[in-house]
């Protein structure tokens, strides 16, 4: 797998989304480096989750473009974007509560692969996130941390190239978080995946992301390496007030 | 878009009428047409009233009560019983039936629905559906499936040589208007009415203001049941009814609140009149009109849901 230095996985240009008078995302541009882990941060209400929803087609952008593999995917339906190799998790987990762990996994398999292949892949991924023992349990009966793991594993069913994680650490205990972070690093280092994380837990962002984008009031106010971000006065002001 | 749709919808009966040569545009026809519109408008007042009951429940609890039409039907039977059993005038009977209806709504809310408000939205739908089935067949067990009518002021009031209004319609319209206005003023001015509106707008904040929202839910359901029973009383002096007529009223009430915007009291008033006028036009100009009237409610409802789900006066955030 190439970790092609300098290549761009996804390019966001001047993305806008207004809800009535509220400018949730107001002309945001950034480029995700291919094969790297990037972080997207910002105070509450700065537009991070809206950005995620725009990238994955859950919301339709008012204007702007999202370029992925040379194609403008802005305006496509969520399943079309998913089928192009972009997968995501949600801020508050959206596992299927009255379906078993195994069914949750199978639901995300591509219909182009055979049932047997899909089952094998589901088994492997359940093993990967240590949920094999719970394969016959309803999603709703899992602990919150286990639900996070399930959602993460489910997002990998189609072997996507770009993985968007919305607050993977929220509500997860330390051990499980460590486990999850190891998986994320494995995906990036060994399989060459591109990963974007939105996260409130700054320790996760600063210690695990190579590049960080900071949003405030719907626009990008800074980008750079963790140390640069930690010492950026604008970022500190955005978070701490002035 | 909705405006254009409604214009087409209202033009349609004319088009069919002209095509089937039942529309003439001479003086006699125009007078008949005016009579029909006037009667439709008055009937609209009654529709508006029980439609407002359904919209009130939806507005406060986000529940669709599909037994609402059955409560209308129940009101008709209560009035019938008072008239033939006790010899009470149908309008005076309201003093008896409305408090009973309030208690009924209160009771249904407390026993059945309070536990499921805010949960999966299909649960209350299924429960009220079951409740409606029970109501139909209990009434059927007592009164059989025969159609019943209440002979009450059946003569017409002549406004001019060719234009007349049924006296029972006029009285129904006046009563419905008085009751609807009464409820509206209650919602606007009374402390509890204000609390009902506050709960409809934001139940969490209403709680923080010290409002016991479950108490409000029960009052709302009681009011809605009273509006439905009042509707039933006023329907019963105009039309025949049997235990199974309730479904039709549920669909009408639903069409009215879809048209007017869910949870919007004034919207329900406008929606009720619009639907009734449309119905009277169809029954006047379209062959087989009396059967086709039912299509008006379904057609309007489905198209408004598809074209503009929030209705005429609905809020954008719906």
């Amino acid at each position: 797998m190439s970790n092609g230095a300098g290549e761009i996985a996804l390019s966001v240009r001047d993305l806008k989304k207004h809800f009535g008078g509220i400018k949730a995302v107001d002309g945001c541009s950034f480029e995700l480096p291919k094969g790297r882990i990037s972080g997207l941060i910002g105070p509450n209400g700065s537009g991070k989750t809206t950005t995620f929803n725009l990238l994955t087609g859950v919301l339709a952008a008012d204007s702007g473009s999202v370029i992925y593999n040379g194609e403008n995917i802005s305006g496509l339906r969520p399943y079309q974007i998913f089928n192009r190799g972009i997968s995501r998790t949600f801020q508050i987990t959206r596992i299927y509560r009255e379906m078993t762990v195994f069914e949750n996994m199978l639901s995300a398999s591509s219909m182009r692969v055979s049932e047997r292949e899909a089952r094998t892949r589901a088994e492997e991924l359940m093993e990967f996130v240590t949920l094999t023992k719970l394969r016959g349990e309803y999603g709703g009966n899992l602990s919150y941390g286990q639900q996070k793991l399930l959602e993460f594993a489910r997002a990998l069913m189609t072997d996507p190239d770009l993985i968007l994680l919305d607050e993977p650490a929220a509500g997860v205990n330390r051990t499980l978080l460590q486990n999850l972070l190891e998986h994320i690093h494995y995906l990036q280092e060994d399989l060459g995946k591109t990963i974007l994380i939105v996260e409130h837990d700054m320790n996760v962002i600063m210690n695990h992301c190579e590049k960080i984008f900071v949003m405030d009031y719907g626009v990008k106010i800074a980008e750079g390496l963790p140390e640069e971000i930690q010492n950026n006065e604008h970022v500190i002001e955005a978070y701490f007030g002035h | 878009m909705l405006g254009a749709f409604l214009a087409v919808a209202y033009a349609l009966p004319f088009a069919v009428g002209i095509y089937t040569e039942s529309v003439f545009f001479d003086l006699q026809w125009l007078a008949d047409f005016t009579t029909v519109l006037l009667n439709g408008f008055m009937q609209g007042g009654v529709y508006a009233m029980f439609g407002a009951g359904l919209t009130l429940i939806f507005g406060v609890m986000r529940i669709i009560n599909v037994a609402h039409g059955e409560t209308v039907m129940l009101g008709a039977y209560m009035t019938w019983s008072a008239f033939f059993g006790l010899g009470v005038d149908p309008l005076l009977a309201l003093f008896l039936t409305l408090p009973l209806a309030f208690v009924w709504g209160w009771f249904v809310q407390k026993v059945l629905l309070n536990a499921v408000v805010g949960g999966p939205e299909l649960t209350p739908l299924l429960m009220t559906f079951g409740l409606g089935l029970v109501m139909i067949h209990v009434v059927e067990a007592i009164f059989t499936t025969d159609f019943r009518t209440i002979p009450y002021l059946p003569d017409a009031l002549r406004l001019s040589e060719n234009i007349s209004v049924g006296r029972n319609r006029l009285i129904s319209f006046v009563m419905a208007t008085v009751i609807s206005c009464g409820v509206y003023i209650f919602l606007k001015k009374h402390r509890i009415g204000k609390a009902i509106r506050a709960t409809a707008q934001n139940a969490d904040v209403a709680m923080v203001c010290g409002i016991n929202i479950f108490h409000i839910y029960m009052i709302t359901s009681g009011l809605a049941a009273a509006l439905a029973v009042a509707g039933g009383a006023l329907v019963s002096i105009q039309f025949g009814f049997n235990p199974e007529t309730g479904i039709f009223y549920t669909l009408q009430a639903f069409a009215i609140i879809v048209l007017g915007g869910r949870g919007n009291f004034i919207g329900a008033m406008i929606g009720g009149v619009m639907l009734a006028v449309m119905e009277s036009m169809i029954s006047f100009m379209v062959p087989n009109g009396t059967a086709m009237v039912e299509l008006a409610a379904y057609g309007l409802m489905i198209f408004v849901l598809l074209i503009r789900p929030r209705g005429l006066l609905g809020e954008k955030t719906d």
Partner: protein, 312 residues
Amino acid sequence: MSNWEHLRNFVVLAAAVVALLFVPPIFSIYIRSFFMFMMLYVVLALSWNIISGYTGYVSFGHVVFYGIGSYATGILMVKAGWHWIPTLFAGAAVSGVFAAFLGYAVLRLKGPYFAIAMLGAAEGVRVIATVWESLTGGGDGIGFPNVENSWETYHAMLILTIITIIVAYWVGHSRFGIRLNAIREDEIAAQSLGVNTTFYKISALVLSAIFPAVGGGIQSYKVLYIEPDSEFFILVTIYMKLFAMFGGKGTVIGPILGAVILYSVQEITWIKFPTAHLIAFGLFIIFVARFMPRGLMGFAVDRGWARKGMVH
């Protein structure tokens, strides 16, 4: 699920079929038609379950497809002189196409709005059936030439039931069914995980419209008379809904169990208390919706008598 388990289930189905082929001849015509109508309700409950149990779009007007099938058979047999068997296929086709168009429109509505739009659609088609006298005979209905057909219709219903169960079984054990379930659980998540929800919802509605149409057709030929009020009777929808909910929506065995048990109960109580059983069913719907939303099968799963989920 292992192949062994599939095999076991098919053996059970085959045994039931053999029993239904050879037991009824011993009994009277009454018992035979009792079994026939029971099978009809198995078909109806299983069909309703495909759109409403798996996908979660609860239909309050499913009788519309049954009525369309009845009328297709009635019109084509009596007015066009067709043999009764091809009319069943025609009814299925008309119903399926109607479901596709209707679904494209109303499956955009959620929860109660879909439910009531379906109720409106069914009532609307009933009115059309009443008004369009030249085609449907209006309120007078259509009478068929009198023939003794209780064996033919019994066997046709048995075949329909087998086909419906096999299709329901496939839905209930395939990724198609899992995707329908995903739509029920969380439509946005399902879309974000590659499910073209519009396509799947319409497919489910079409599938759930075909079998009731055939059932309606067989039934109309059996009773030899149809009219709008009986073929678009809301009670048929109520039965579908209650039977499937009681047995356990979103399962294969649930609607079968629900239909067999409750149809038998209503048939027994009907004789003694014609309206009381409907009051009881109303109370029953309230009870099931409130206290056992996953039905008998949910009850069994909670006690460890059945495994969770549809694939293993």
